[in-house]
Symmetry: C2
Amino acid sequence: MGKSGYEMKAKFIRGFGDKTRLQILESIKYKEKTVSQIVDDLNGNQSNISQHLACLKGCGIIVCRQEGKYMYYSIRNEQILNLLERMDSVFEQVEEEVAACEKNDELDCCPRT
Amino acid sequence: MGKSGYEMKAKFIRGFGDKTRLQILESIKYKEKTVSQIVDDLNGNQSNISQHLACLKGCGIIVCRQEGKYMYYSIRNEQILNLLERMDSVFEQVEEEVAACEKNDELDCCPRT
DNA sequence: CCCTCATTTCAGTCCTCACTAATATGAATG
DNA sequence: CATTCATATTAGTGAGGACTGAAATGAGGG
């Protein structure tokens, strides 16, 4: 893979790597919403969320459609949705594993010294 | 999901969101390697790569095992590997889609004005 | 047309993070 | 135990990105 390929892929993945953007994605996961609806959902700053939406759109993660003065945002497609869900489940599993592992009296899974 | 939950998940995802770390993962994808081997593979800086390895480990994405003076790193488990591959394929598909879409004489998929 | 509402854009600040160079730890070996 | 090799850690720097408030754009309704 070309050097710039990794950079682009990293940028794409980083689209998911922010708590506000994850919340936005959660909010529009199963149905499109307007910016104001999302702002309400997250109880966030409108400008901030608009910028994150632009970021998600730039990464190809979401799409939008205008209807009158409203802009509706939604997850780009099934595959992105699946990826999101996969990220969720893998994260949860790893989280548990790591937690369980660290419980062993700081005898980490991996030699520390 | 708790507020901090999103933050942790975002951190986990960000583990994948860097070109050097993606290269490292590619390098150890199918077999464990020592730090020096990875450094050679990527033609990179030892300190830099060591730090990225620590990051990946901290995110629960990779694990390591010591053998004498060597430290072997590998992908944590099958699920992480699958997630990685899924990220790859979704990214490629989105990339194509976006490229094709932008070809339409700047008539973007989504109203711009 | 003017006004209001929805959304985007801009400018500025702060903080995180990737990178480098230098130093430290730690294991093996003579 | 002194040296060498593999790796980790630390400190410092610079760039990017998240956030805020204010201003700009754009669509509809009176």
